[in-house]
Symmetry: C2
Subunit: 225 residues, 2 copies
DNA sequence: TTGATCGTTCGATCGCCACCGAATTGTGTG
DNA sequence: CACACAATTCGGTGGCGATCGAACGATCAA
């Protein structure tokens, strides 16, 4: 099988709505059982089982058995990156008459692996760049000296030693870059620890707590309506 | 239509081998006619026309009319990036008994948009990092002071002003990063101007000229077999 | 052991779509 | 104008795969 036909067969796996739902449900890095994934995909358990077998065969998913449960997760970060890049091409909904509530929550703030995306992620990125704390280009970025001091005070300084901390990650809903990489992970973790944001049960969306509303405004001058 | 189903429909477009061939044939940025793409996809012109209509509708391709010819090209670099990321997941052929000649050429050296990939791209990246000219992490990278001097002497220094020059781009055939971004583009252009590499007519593969064999060995200590 | 839950396998149905050839439209050439 | 060529449209065919329900094996709790 040639490289191209193998690529096509991988893409075909993403091309089914049920499998696409399964994969996106796993994008936050959690491992879910077959039954939970059946619910996420909105198809019967038997159908889901078939999909999971194909995805595991293709090594898009890894599986771990625990008792009578089988936990599925993305086989590698590469898979998540692929999904985001396809989402970036698919682009945002072209002006829906009425925005879907769940989708709206995802657009406001969500996790992209270990960092923040959505409007919050983009706003945070804008705030840091405008303040001169980080310098971003379309294909890289770094923290300024002043930025290091700020991040240290904020409590989100990533491990030292390496000089490159951040990588822009194109946001599929905002179509603008947000901070990923180690800096993105450190920022997200700090916001969680401060209680500014909270993960939701069955979604990659995160909610901004009242404390977070105040904090983001005071520290970053961010006010998401 | 939800975000996920839109992603699925985009992925489904890549999931057909004929369309996958069409898209990869356009990955070097050239614009090709419907007939040429029919040949690349190995299906009839009528079938190709249908595929091209769907790809254009979905805005994966852009089309430009010139006389009685219609030239198709990728609608944006995002599309190319998506294809590379799917290839990275699809991974290299698991040890074929006999390597396909064309595929082998692609693995040796090819263009990935504006920079070099394949064994040559990876070897170049290794040489620059081992010499301490660039510092790469998995999500970013930059040129050292010593590296700036070296690149200036080599004639491949990218435009100054911005501090971040390079971005690692995962190689789908080697599964290792190579240098992309502005530095990658500058390196590829310099190698072309030096006559070390030459583009091939109908492929993204590039050939290493005799001058290139000598040059890569003398300057970077690279010797591909 | 019995019952309950999780997950897979099997068989059958059904719809979608890739494909081709022939006919058609549009454009440049002799 | 007649002809050649590029590209699309149309009608018909065929096959792949998504789906479900029912039955079955596996595991844990009582």
């Amino acid at each position: 099988m040639s490289d191209i036909t193998r690529m096509a067969s991988v893409a075909a796996l993403l091309g089914d709505p049920a499998r696409a739902n399964i994969l996106t449900a796993l994008m936050d890095g959690r491992a879910l059982t077959a039954k939970e994934l059946a619910f996420a995909a909105r198809v019967s358990p038997s159908t889901t089982s078939g999909h999971l077998a194909r995805l595991t065969d293709a090594e898009l998913l890894a599986v771990e058995q625990q008792g009578r449960h089988r936990y599925f997760r993305l086989a590698s970060p590469l898979v998540g990156h692929m999904l985001e890049s396809v989402m970036a091409v698919a682009g945002p909904e072209p002006r829906p008459a009425v925005a879907w509530k769940g989708g709206e929550a995802l657009r406001t703030a969500r996790t992209c692996y270990d960092h923040l995306a959505g409007r919050l992620g983009v706003a945070l990125t804008d705030a840091l760049t405008h303040a001169g704390h980080v310098a971003l280009t379309h294909d890289g970025g770094e923290v300024t000296d002043q930025g290091h001091a700020f991040l240290h005070a904020f409590g989100a300084e990533p491990a030292a030693g390496k000089r490159v901390f951040c990588r822009p990650c194109l946001d599929w809903s905002e179509r603008r870059p947000h901070i990923a990489g180690r800096l993105g992970a450190a920022l997200a973790e700090r916001c969680l620890n401060l209680g500014w944001i909270a993960r939701q049960r069955d979604s990659r969306a995160v909610t901004i707590t009242p404390a977070g509303t105040d904090g983001f405004r005071a520290t970053f001058d961010i006010d998401l309506h």
